[in-house]
Amino acid sequence: MNKRILMSGNEALAEGAIRAGCRYYFGYPITPQSEIAAYMARRMREVEGIFLQAESELAAINMVYGAASAGARTMTSSSGPGISLKQEGISYLAGAELPAVVVNVMRGGPGLGNIAPSQSDYFQATRGGGHGDYHLVVLAPSSVQEMADLTYLAFDLADKYRNPMMILADAILGQMMEGVKFKNGVKDIPGKKWAIGGARGRDANIIRSLYLQEGVLEEHNRHLQEKYARMRSQEVRYESFAAKDADLLIIAYGSMARLSMEVVNKLREKGVKAGLLRPISLWPFPYTAIKRLISGVKFIFVVEMSEGQMLEDVKLAVGSQVPVYFYGRLGGGVPTPLEIMEKIESLLKNRI
């Protein structure tokens, strides 16, 4: 079955998870991601998996904690307020080194905010929204196809590193419909020797994030940090477009990268040498790739649906080498390509 199927991003993400072998989904309704739950409710029946609508997000993430410790491929999804509630559980998953996939289809915040698209949970996702020194690999899809592909990848990475992974999407990506192709069949899921599941003939496996003896927690943290270092060196993902000869480099992720692609095309038509860099992994962030790309660049323009959160990472990468400009919309506001064009053109005018 390798036909292209028309689907919403939320549905494609859910199907990607099913194809990756996820058979345990725990959720709690919240807009704009409820379609993931509806799709899972239907599909889990077909594949004889479990869909469970919990009584709260706290319950859902802890059900994930339980299922992951038993060695299952498991997932939960939510948006803003619900993701905040899941942070305690995510910290425990990281501390106990359990693989799981957490999906955030971002909406406007802070607080209840609204249900419109936003990218304002970047800090929460990439800096560790819960307590303790930990990281998730954060993957940012920018098409319906990637909603499926990156979710599939997230399950593999989760098992590879025994660490929770996050898919950071937004309401645009969740709701929009595009054709999508799926990989065939479910892959072999690696055996999990560490999982709890009966200890006959072997020592008991213990899943915990509690280490009380002196020095042991520090040692455990060192071990986690070594793992994050491996992620930093192996899991950086990004894509560039028309960037090789660019004077002006736009940096954007997720739905804003799609929009910026259009801006790049329009600017090229007008003779401006524009290019795009799109981080796919937001953590680890492609610092080195950006550093390498900017040697010939005259200025950088960052677009986000926030007041400049990824902007801080871009500035860390760029330093004072090249000037960095920013355009963002807040609280569910979505910029148009025209808006961005105008902003860039006025910048260009003032610089000449």
Partner: protein, 283 residues
């Protein structure tokens, strides 16, 4: 003289025909009958269709977090016992996301009234099953029907010795407004579970469905009898009782706190000189 118009808030955004309208009307009527002025009343809600109610009132209102109605109401009541505090929200808000708070607010016996708009479905998020949905209830997210048993708030509240446990429905404004008056006047935690049709997402528990089943508890029914209350609370199906199921007089949280005996916290002035003797013993 306070009138219904004094409580008139913003224009409503509920579906035409929603049970929420009856509850809003009954609440306003009860407050006016009790001669309570808008400044004396605080309505605290969570998130959901029901929790939009404070927007449609004009008095002190607090529209907070999904599931957290009772902690906010508790904080407000402790800080200012002079306020008449009324919590409002849906069955998802109160029995799902906020279920834990429901248990512990009953245990503390905070002197507030809780109105639960029980439409037995998640309305705002478009029709998922709620804790009070019937087993077998079919939705987009429960395609094979709900397989968990339904949450019985009345039995649970009685088991926790809640001091006022009652039920009404949105289709009988006189009964509901009478009940709200009783609950507000009762000293201690008062629960009113309000059965309410959701005309958009709950095609089973309709106006007609309720009308055919609901009856009022008899006059001779004694709400002091806990065992009888359990029995009535378990009655559901062809006949559904409404009224005051259980009432128990007991001290409220504030009655038992030394610090609150001198009146509301917000009226108490700090007097640093009072701690001087204590400080001197330490020096």
């Amino acid at each position: 003289m306070v009138t219904i118009d004094d409580y008139q808030g913003q224009v409503t955004a509920w579906c035409p025909g929603c049970g929420d309208f009856g509850i809003l009307q009954a609440l306003k009527k009860a407050l006016v009958d009790l001669k309570l002025e808008p400044h004396q009343v605080l309505i605290v809600s969570g998130i959901g269709q029901a929790s939009k109610l404070p927007h449609y009132m004009k008095c002190n209102t607090f529209n907070g977090l999904h599931g957290r109605i009772l902690p906010v109401a508790t904080g407000a009541k402790i800080a200012n016992q002079e306020l008449v505090v009324i919590g409002v929200g849906g069955d998802g808000d109160n029995y799902g996301e906020g279920g834990n708070h429901f248990l512990h607010t009953i245990r503390r016996n905070i002197d507030i009234t809780l109105l639960v708009h029980n439409n037995r479905v998640y309305g705002l998020t478009k029709g998922q099953a709620s804790p009070t949905s019937d087993p077998g209830f079919i939705s987009k997210v429960q395609p094979q029907g709900v397989i968990s048993s339904s949450f019985n708030a009345l039995s649970l509240a009685i088991s926790l010795h809640a001091s006022f446990v009652s039920r009404s429905w949105s289709g009988d404004i006189d009964h509901l407004s009478w009940l709200i008056k009783e609950a507000v006047q009762h000293k201690g935690f008062s629960l009113i579970d309000i059965l309410q049709p959701c005309i958009t997402f709950n095609k089973k528990n309709t106006y007609r469905w309720y009308k055919e089943r609901i009856y009022k508890l008899a006059e001779e029914y004694d709400p002091a009898n806990r065992l009888a209350a359990f029995k009535k609370a378990e009655e559901w199906g062809d006949k559904i009782p409404i009224g005051i199921f259980y009432r128990e007089k007991k001290p409220t949280f504030a009655d038992q706190l030394f610090g609150l005996k001198k009146g509301p916290l917000f009226r108490q002035r700090l007097d640093p000189s009072q701690v001087m003797p204590l400080l001197e013993t330490l020096s």
